[in-house]
Symmetry: C2
Subunit: 209 residues, 2 copies
């Protein structure tokens, strides 16, 4: 078999678009946007502009085709071509080895908290903990809803499995985050107690002197 040109291999965004179109069939960028928002979008931001600009790129590579609507909202509808499907499958056949990219502004702030005010770490951790708790409970609510829909089917968990999985990864991450930030807060409390004690002792010494 002749080896396919690697088409300067595609970005993860490309595969996202390719995959969604393969699964959902012909869609508009707005459709893509909604699907993303409901799944990966929870912890991996894909600004809507991306989902408008990426498909045309893929059309240029012959991995998609475009159908323009004539009246009403002249939206652009995209579909995968055979080549597109092939590219997607080829990618799926090569398990990725790239490490996870975990970018978190709060974590960066905590990392430098010692350079800020004495309360910096505490306030950062408080904020982060609050945020993660909110997201965690949102996920848990979504999970319950999902269960309600899925369980009645009984047995075969073949349908909408992918959806539950991103949900589950999000859940596990948020739990880890909550644990982490709680730990930070606890540490801070300990540290504060310690300095309080030290100060008290110091004051005592000063008074005695």
């Amino acid at each position: 078999m002749v080896w396919m040109m690697s088409t300067t291999d595609l970005s993860l965004t490309s595969y996202l678009v390719l995959g969604l179109l393969a699964r959902e069939g012909p869609s508009t960028p707005y459709d893509l946007k909604r699907h993303v928002a409901a799944t990966l979008g929870h912890f991996w931001s894909f600004p809507h502009a991306l989902l408008y600009t990426e498909p045309p790129r893929l059309v240029a590579l012959c991995l998609l085709t475009e159908t323009a609507e004539v009246h009403g909202r002249r939206r652009r509808i995209f579909s995968v071509t055979t080549a597109g499907l092939e590219a997607l499958r080829a990618w799926l056949g090569r398990p990725s080895q790239e490490p996870t990219e975990l970018r978190d502004a709060g974590l960066l702030q905590l990392f430098f908290a010692d350079l800020g005010s004495s309360q910096a770490a505490r306030s950062i951790a408080t904020e982060q903990l609050a945020q993660h708790l909110v997201r965690l409970s949102a996920y848990e609510a979504e999970e319950r809803r999902e269960d309600d829909v899925t369980l009645p089917r009984g047995g075969g968990q073949t349908v909408a499995h992918w959806r539950g999985r991103t949900l589950r990864m999000g859940l596990l991450y948020e739990r880890a985050a909550v644990e982490f930030w709680s730990g930070v807060l606890a540490d801070e409390d300990l540290a504060e107690e310690a300095t309080d004690r030290a100060r008290a002792q110091d004051d005592g010494a000063r008074i005695r002197a």
Copy 2:
């Protein structure tokens, strides 16, 4: 107090550079690179080129100063200015609300695994699990080393706390990831068993017919 121009607020990379310089004192981009590699770099990639191009940007904003070395390797040494420190502190005083960005190629592949071969999910999960196990044990080893260094000091955990923290977040994340991917593999095993059983039954029926 007159409110500082927001200096078209800075990117996270800017704060990384600002913070490292504030903590470590005057450094070359290469110094920065090493510090990053030993801490955040584990799960947040900062290509070295960034650490060479970002400081000049900050110099232009008067947040850093540059000292050029004359002979030997004419390296560029950067230091924070008072304005730089101020910007850093101001940022630390505003706890971030941006959500975590969790970008993972493996997760994306899993999300679309149903569109690939029947073995796709399994091989993706196997690969990911292996990767995460490696990183997890690397973190654990590093944690032990860290403890060896830290514990003897006894009492006050004021030193090198930041380092342990990124380590800890990495650890918790990797544990979550290992749990996740193990779960995926288990699911796949169940699913395969089910289809095997179904096929066996089917074969049986065919033979009896």
